[in-house]
Symmetry: C2
Subunit: 256 residues, 2 copies
DNA sequence: TGTGTCGGATTGTCGGACGATATCTTCGAA
DNA sequence: TTCGAAGATATCGTCCGACAATCCGACACA
């Protein structure tokens, strides 16, 4: 479209440290090295790749950062399964930097929550249900503390996610959930009846899950999320306003 | 539960390169440095943080890998907005390593697709609609080439994502979309009527979007995804089987 | 059995170095 | 004077060698 005659593509020499990372990554992704298996010491990698240790280190840092390799107690590197939260926080960070609006978050949360609770209603195990019960009991005890309620709300939704038995859905949800939490905290602090309504919704959702009643579960999840949105509106914030201002105060104090 | 008396938490000292990364990240997230602005040369960071250049380099590699900083033509580091695909491929990788099943992918795709097309039907701009039209025209031309159709299908869904105007939803979808593509390719290669049905569904979806007919859009999106699932079943694969085996052949040849 | 000590291995960090390349400066020619 | 080319400068990617801190295993000792 733009270039009329491009005989040669731009030369693009990949730095050595990236090649190292890619080479290791490929071996992991193709299953040649399985999770838990050691990847070799830095010195060994230096010999294998024929580059300097600094270069190797820059390469493995990337994979280590992604969570697909980890140092075990030996200090030796081993392949590991990346955990959700590590990835989620990156995506959340991107959302903040892109200044997504509350409306976007609301729409996505609604869709994801519906699918998640449907899965939970169909497949929740008794132990997951017990965990949710316990969460609700704890919530009832701290109803006067908005921050604590917000945290337990976040935990409750994480439990539903786990109970849904759908990891793809969980991975899709987690980043937005990380943004929902500070928003909920803010709302609960400003809407007096918030915590009580939240608790009631949680109770109904759990009850529906217990009865394997998909429709009721969806209904209460929908109400719950709509409450959240209405709460947000009642605090005087506009739906189409970026949520970064809310999130940042949290991010600045949280450890990565 | 396991430990009866845990007086002290585990001790863990954070390496310097991580502290460097976190310090810079914090300054970016709190908006002290805005996207596009330079972050300083390696030498400057060395002076500021009082650590060796190797240490600084390991730190900035992490942020560079995450896409929140980038080298511009100067080679100097500048803050940048992380692009979706970079993040998505990480999450996709996690899905593969966790050996998620087709069923999980199907459920998540359905939920996300429904929400996305709803947004597209409500908000698609005429230029986005034109792009989709163009995509459909190209698809019609290569109907005999399953791989090409699969690629255009992937593009079509990306267009819908963009047209939805919801970036949270887009970020949530992209990882699973990356897994959908190789699956679709495999299916189209084995189900003769696949490409034609796919094209028909795309046409109806676009038509519904053009008419701002949310219900019709949802209906055809649902049919489209169900076709995909049925196609998968017809190839003899079980829904509860991990999809890594399909994906890996792709991943091994794709560049990161 | 439990404890203290020792040596080897490995990592985190450091200082210095070099070539390649992009940017800036200077200076000569039109 | 203006423009362009040659040289100087800055910055990065990579390399080398080094050291301390820490972990692991072995071994002696109470």
């Amino acid at each position: 479209m733009t270039e009329l005659l491009e005989k040669f593509g731009r030369i693009h020499s990949t730095p050595a440290y990236q090649l190292v990372a890619e080479a290791i990554e490929r071996r992991i992704l193709t299953g040649r090295i399985r999770p838990g298996e050691p990847i070799g010491t830095e010195a060994e990698l230096v010999k294998q790749f024929g580059v300097n240790r600094s270069t190797v280190r820059e390469g493995i840092r990337l994979l280590e950062h992604d969570g697909i390799i980890q140092r075990q107690s030996n200090r030796r590197l081993a392949v590991s399964l990346p955990h959700y939260q590590r990835l989620a926080s990156r995506t959340t960070r991107a959302m903040v930097l892109h200044e997504v609006t509350f409306r976007e978050l609301y729409e996505a949360s609604m869709a994801l929550q519906m699918a998640t609770i449907e899965g939970a209603a169909l497949r929740a195990t008794s132990s997951m249900i017990a965990a949710m019960e316990e969460n609700i009991a704890r919530t009832a005890k701290v109803l006067g503390d908005p921050a604590a309620v917000a945290e337990l709300d976040s935990e409750f939704h994480a439990l539903i996610g786990k109970a849904s038995g759908n990891r793809v859905l969980q991975l899709a949800r987690e980043p937005s959930d990380l943004l929902v939490y500070p928003t909920t905290k803010m709302i609960l602090g400003r809407v007096p009846e918030g915590p009580a309504r939240l608790l009631e919704a949680h109770r109904h959702m759990l009850e529906a899950i217990r009865r394997r009643d998909v429709d009721a579960a969806r209904l209460w999840a929908r109400r719950h999320i709509n409450d959240w949105r209405k709460g947000f509106e009642r605090t005087g914030n506009g739906l189409d306003q970026p949520i970064d201002s809310l999130y940042l105060r949290e991010a600045a104090t949280s450890s990565s």
